[in-house]
Symmetry: C2
Subunit: 362 residues, 2 copies
Amino acid sequence: MAAERSAPPTISEVAAGAGVGRSTAARTLGGYGYVSPDVRERVLAAAERIGYRANALARSMSTGISNTIGVIVADIANPFFGGVVRGISDAAHARGYDTLVLSTNEKLPEEVAATNVLIDKRVDGIIVASAALDAASAAHFEQARDHGIPVVLVDRAVPGLELDAVVIDNRAAARDAVERLIAAGHRRIGFVWGPPVQERPRLRREMVDIAARNLWTDGERLQGYLDALDDEGIVFDADLVMVGEKVEENARVEVRQMLALTDPPTALFCTETDAMTGSLQALRDAGLRVATDVSMIGFDDSSWARVLEPPLTMIEQPMQALGTRAAEVLFGAIDGQEPSVELHTLETRFIERASVAPPSDR
Amino acid sequence: MAAERSAPPTISEVAAGAGVGRSTAARTLGGYGYVSPDVRERVLAAAERIGYRANALARSMSTGISNTIGVIVADIANPFFGGVVRGISDAAHARGYDTLVLSTNEKLPEEVAATNVLIDKRVDGIIVASAALDAASAAHFEQARDHGIPVVLVDRAVPGLELDAVVIDNRAAARDAVERLIAAGHRRIGFVWGPPVQERPRLRREMVDIAARNLWTDGERLQGYLDALDDEGIVFDADLVMVGEKVEENARVEVRQMLALTDPPTALFCTETDAMTGSLQALRDAGLRVATDVSMIGFDDSSWARVLEPPLTMIEQPMQALGTRAAEVLFGAIDGQEPSVELHTLETRFIERASVAPPSDR
DNA sequence: TGCCGACCTGGTACCGGTACCACAACCATG
DNA sequence: CATGGTTGTGGTACCGGTACCAGGTCGGCA
């Protein structure tokens, strides 16, 4: 026979079981106010006996605190966001908070919907890697603030938006990497994961404009690439910047095209894991070898980068630290601290391995 | 000046704003019961005007439905679980549910605590990749069931536990992979990621016993390895099974030792990504090449496996599908379906590339 | 004309906690 | 012996929804 499942016990039942008033039981169980030792004992025993567990929903209802924070990212299956979320939820857990995670597929409408869900569920704070490109398209965060819910950005800043953001210095990291390629003697350097547009902008100005109107991280990295070029007086060539959909397969075909140029790149700078693997496939397609034929540097280190031959020189992002730091900033705001509205910048680590060599003259 | 933030508007305020009773406003906003067209209009306008959003907490409180499911995994930063969680949350989202994700670091006490948190927050269902090894250590799931919260296992079954589980057939997948190695001519096959014990069990029986008392997936995979050996009449050698901590670095040292054996393995079967990368490092340390010197097959395909030279033959797990399927089973239970208490087995995909070759005689 | 059902509305109990308050008992102090 | 503070207890309003119920209006039909 199926066990008869009764409704979960409430404080009233504990009170009845212990022969005390409801509020006395509540005081004991909630750990506030006066309770005499023997009554406390009786209440605790009764609670234990009938298996009482506080209803967090009811508590939240009455206190206005849900002990839950919301996290909005493009895709929780992306290892980068996985690391960030891990950092956030560890920090949250340490403070007795739980984490509601929502994926948006990098789509603004889904981000708005996600924000509304979190507002409705009365989370105590929100951390978001936003797809918003400017302050104008970030009204949903105002909404959250109107409900008294602090919002902290992570991984991506939104220009013009008065919100704390925990990020890395994408521009500086990209610039540094590209400068190292130049220092190794390269002057034809491909940039993989460019603006997601169909038609390739020919002019440098256009390229920058378009980049600025796309994902913040990508735009910053492209800028860093251009900075390095400028520093060394290398003329920009639009043909060396990938355009189109940001998927591995497209990186592969775009890089293949670059390599078929009359004056092909001798080095490639990849802004993401799949940009790197796509580029690597293009190299193989062309029968070219890493370092010997084409030098490479990429973002986001992984254990795989060490086992490739040659091992890959990479820029490591502090994924978990981004998360924990964002959580710290958020809890500061939850605790009532005046928001500082600043860019909290974390350090990247340049991991030099063996995928950079002087250019060959094929 | 700071904008004065008033408390979020409630149904009563909407009612007042529309000049109707509280319950009429509630009926309109909740979309149930009778409301005349013009009154509905007025209420909706008022709600719009003052920016009303329903308080999901209060609603849950009163209906007993939280529209939230809980997910418990070892580590959300692990791409495998990232994929599973993505599958779950997509399926949940499609049904109007959100997902509370908790990481346990593969520790049972943390899993128990996580379960209690989810019970307290009155989630409508729980999906868990449990660290529990047997039914005896899974009392926390009983607890959930006592509160009327259905539980579905994912990735790992718990022997003896009467719960639905969505898994892959680890044993068959491992057996198939090892049989392919044998078919290629290998008779000395290393198993990487064995039991996490300090002292290496010498006897096959002991090995099996210890495996059975550890993580279900690992035990199954070891069994599959043994099955294949048995089928082909190959004698088991404990020295070819890695033991100790399941981290990349330990795989590296263990495999290095295997390769230094007088009769070293000519092929390696790796049960996880880091087991594979660790093994690959050991190969490099020993100056050995994949396929040519040592054949390799591993679990969990990734875009990196394609760009290694040679590309790696891998067993792909349907991570997202595991998640969506688990969610479907869970929603079945939430909808009041009698639980079937069965093992839902999803197919793995064997991806043949070029890391398997006949054994060399070094 | 009387009655019944459909349509519409507002009042109110309830979900399970928290928090404030009134009140009682007790002891110490002036 | 009055006063007042500390300790301990129970009553009750409230959080913001849902859901049930009573009551009113109106039209159709016997």
